[in-house]
Amino acid sequence: MLLQDDLLSKIIEQLIGAGADFAEVYVEDTRKRQFTYLNARPDRAVSGHTLGAGIRIFSGTEQIYTYTNDLSEKGLRRAAENAAAALKSRTKIPLVPPEQAQIFNPRPEGLTTRDSDFHWQQLALVDETARAVNSLVTQVQADMTETVKTVQIMNSEGINRSEVRNYLSAIAFAYAEDGGEKENGHKRTAFLGTSDDWDQVDFRDLGQGAAEQALRILRAEWAPAGEMPVLIDSAFGGVIFHEACGHGLETTSVAKNASVFCGKLDERIADECVTAIDDGTLLGDYGSLEIDDEGEPTQRTVLIEKGILKSYLVDKIGARKTGYKITGSGRRQDYRFAPTSRMRNTFIAPGESTFEEMLKDIDYGLYAKDLGGGSVMPGTGSYNFAVNEAFIVRNGKIEKQVKGASLIGTGIETLGRIKKVGKELKLAAGTCGSVSGMIPVTVGQPPILVSKLTVGGKV
């Protein structure tokens, strides 16, 4: 627990007394350590302490938010006054006394139990492994980050909860150069854990994976341009669902009538082979939580069941605006952001098809093996994402590797074109950016076959 219950109770009382019909205080204390290896030696060591509080009140569907990093009673009261001053209508609601404090996932240990030498040894291993792959590898950067984030949330509905969240993230970048041409590759792992859990990471594999990818892309030719069937591989391939559909199911967009999925609950929006889930309860995955950033227990939310839209992702203000039930999806980067409805671990569930069957269905198309980031405009449903590594498929067989292909489409159209879903589900960690900042998530899917997408290569 970061601040005394009594102090937070007083602030909530002040806000409700000023006429808010909902009040919440979110307190955060985050400690972070970053180690960066570059030019074959330790390049950067940064330690950080983030500390602040966000105060939020509702008046109907109007949301007022303020934050401060002055956590004294005076500082919090001033922030509360700033928030209350913006209230236009004033109501009198009964105040629910805070529940007995609930603390989730308390960890006695501090930020790291490992000596710094351990981190530099692992990062040196990444560097050496990457450079040993080929003499064309000219530069390697490797980072390890440990984060311990403690959040405390109290609101006027009685919630009084804290959670300690431990995150580990490691990433390797390798640059390869040949005849004036330059490319890079990367490999990342990120999950919930303390420094003891670094043992789960194969650092050699990170270095090797980054270097091999850089070399493969360096040697690849440009992708073709135009519409074609695309077989999208598992793990980070799931970014297609995240962009094409996931963001459009957040009440942040749905409540504004700014999503192509508005009003489509219980309607068919995809082929029967598509079941999609957003699950915050998975053990140790990067997007998992015990409680969301509004203090609500996280959930497993079935979004699409056999092609039928079953649920949106609903936060507290989204529930007020739309009438849908909260799904424990209120998330934020830190205390500087008011929470909004966001994804957690989002994936397409396993289907019946084998990889070979899907490949055989393609006369001429693309096999997208590793995807990059993407984005979407929920209002129009237009989404895009980058493909790091892809191959031409001809007559059901994988041919040469190509590069430079981004894929675009629109959400509902693409969902309707997912014709086959493979058997083996894999997840991959990522960072998602939206109105409430950058948050840890995972995406995932088994391999899927999309009958037509626009590939942005060269004519």
Partner: protein, 445 residues
């Protein structure tokens, strides 16, 4: 505790431990107002402070930061930075800025903005949304309608006695409209920035966003092929920003920039001159001194297509034996790096209409929809865009669901003409519209 007092304490703690230290401190206040369906949807007023230290000792450098300003936290921060410095060894001895004279720049802070009443800001946002909604009934919603203002105070201080502060402020307003017809939904937006609240015009901005949106109705997909294109000024700015790290001496030295070894060579078309200008009155990244405390300088990076040099801080200037351009950059939470201030493409003579009549068919690229398809190491890109098709210099129809691809350095080598239509910047890149031929377009077969 005030931030000034916290800076004093942190410097004292560093001196007591015999450390050379540089403090970077930022204090920010901001207001954000959003309207939705003619109701106040979001109101946020906030303040934050962050203090970071960079400890240097010969070749050693370590960084730590804290948002807790109590004396124990500050001492802990100094100790962590000192411990980090023991682990990091750079290629040469590091030096802190020793000049006591502090440069000034007066145009980047307008005290008048601080006294604008909240009610006026709320009214502004309300008018912004209402004007957009009332422009035409085909506009079904205004998904984004925001007014924000921000004041940032930045202090650099070190144990050699340098201490200087500057403030910037400004207000930004943004509106996006969604329109619908039988062929589907389209969205477009407009944005403006000023340091003077009274210079913002809600009606004009809302009408511009609404008209842009309506112009997109009936958008169709272009056929695959090579086209003559014009990057509209804001899009040209985004493409310039994709390349901004290429000019960093750090990236060049570390061989991650494709411009390494290209100094003195023609990298862009003759018509392009690019200057880093930290003194631009309306610039988003204008500043009297850099994050090490060195007086800002205007630096020509590309002159008539030729690469004249790179941006450096005190470290990379010495490592690369290049002029010190005072582009040291670090926030309280990061280590010392190199970043541009405002990257400016020098405007040409030709109006946009002239560029759009350069060929029978010209695509005006109006929006870049995502940046993930840019590969910085090589400069190769495959990027989703939207635009308008001009035939014989006249707008014929809107275009959507397509990508353009190529290599960004090759693209800037082939710029044929530079427009005269630069706008007040909303990012740290400023460019007029640019005309380029034979650009790969992927749409329908």
């Amino acid at each position: 505790m005030t931030l000034d007092r916290a800076i004093d304490l942190a410097l004292e703690a560093a001196r007591e431990k015999g450390l050379q230290a540089e403090i970077s401190a930022v204090e920010a206040t901001s207001t954000a107002i959003g309207f939705q369906s003619r109701k106040l949807d979001q109101y946020s007023v906030s303040e934050s402070r962050q203090l970071g230290v960079r400890v240097v000792n010969g070749r050693h450098e370590g960084v730590a930061y804290s948002e807790s300003l109590d004396p124990e936290s500050l001492i802990e921060m100094i100790e962590e930075a000192a411990a980090n410095a023991k682990m990091i060894q750079k290629e040469l001895d590091l030096e802190l800025q020793g000049e006591i004279e502090t440069p000034k720049l007066s145009d980047i802070y307008n005290p008048g903005l601080e006294s604008v009443p909240t009610d006026k800001k709320i009214q502004f946002a309300e008018e912004l949304e209402a004007t957009a909604l009332d422009t035409d009934q085909r506009i079904i919603s205004v998904p984004y309608c925001r007014y924000t203002d921000r004041r940032v105070s930045r202090t650099i201080a070190n144990t050699r006695g340098f201490r200087a502060q500057y403030q910037t402020n400004g207000c930004t307003t943004y509106v996006a409209c969604l329109a619908n017809d039988n062929e589907g939904s389209v969205m477009a937006w407009d944005v403006s920035f000023s340091r003077d609240f009274n210079a913002l015009d809600a009606k004009k901005l809302a009408k511009s966003a609404a008209e842009k949106t309506l112009e997109r109705l009936g958008a169709r997909r272009p056929s695959n092929g090579k086209y003559t294109i014009v990057f509209e000024n804001r899009v040209a700015e985004e493409f310039l920003s994709l390349m901004s790290s290429y000019f960093s001496g750090k990236s060049v030295y570390e061989k991650t920039s494709p411009l390494a070894d290209k100094k003195g060579q023609k990298i862009f078309a003759d018509v392009l001159t690019v200057v880093d200008d930290p003194f631009l009155a309306q610039g988003q990244s204008s500043r009297p001194f850099d994050d090490e405390g060195y007086a800002s300088k205007k630096t020509t990076l590309v002159e008539n297509g030729r690469l004249m040099g790179f941006l450096t801080n005190s470290v990379y200037a010495r490592l690369m034996k290049e002029p010190h351009t005072a582009h040291g950059s670090r926030s309280p939470s990061t280590d010392l790096s190199v970043s541009p201030s405002n990257l400016v493409v020098t405007p040409g003579q030709r109006p946009l209409a002239d560029l759009l009549a350069a060929d029978k068919n010209v695509i005006l690229i109006t929006d870049l929809l995502g940046r993930a398809g840019f590969r910085a190491a090589s400069g190769d890109f495959s990027l989703p865009v939207e635009g308008l098709m001009y035939v014989d210099g006249r707008m014929d129809h809107a275009l959507k669901d397509f990508l353009i691809s190529g290599n960004i350095l090759d693209l800037f080598k082939r710029v044929e003409a530079v427009g005269n239509d630069s706008l007040v910047p909303v990012s740290d890149c400023v460019s007029p519209s640019l005309l380029i031929r034979d650009v790969n377009v992927a749409g329908k077969a």
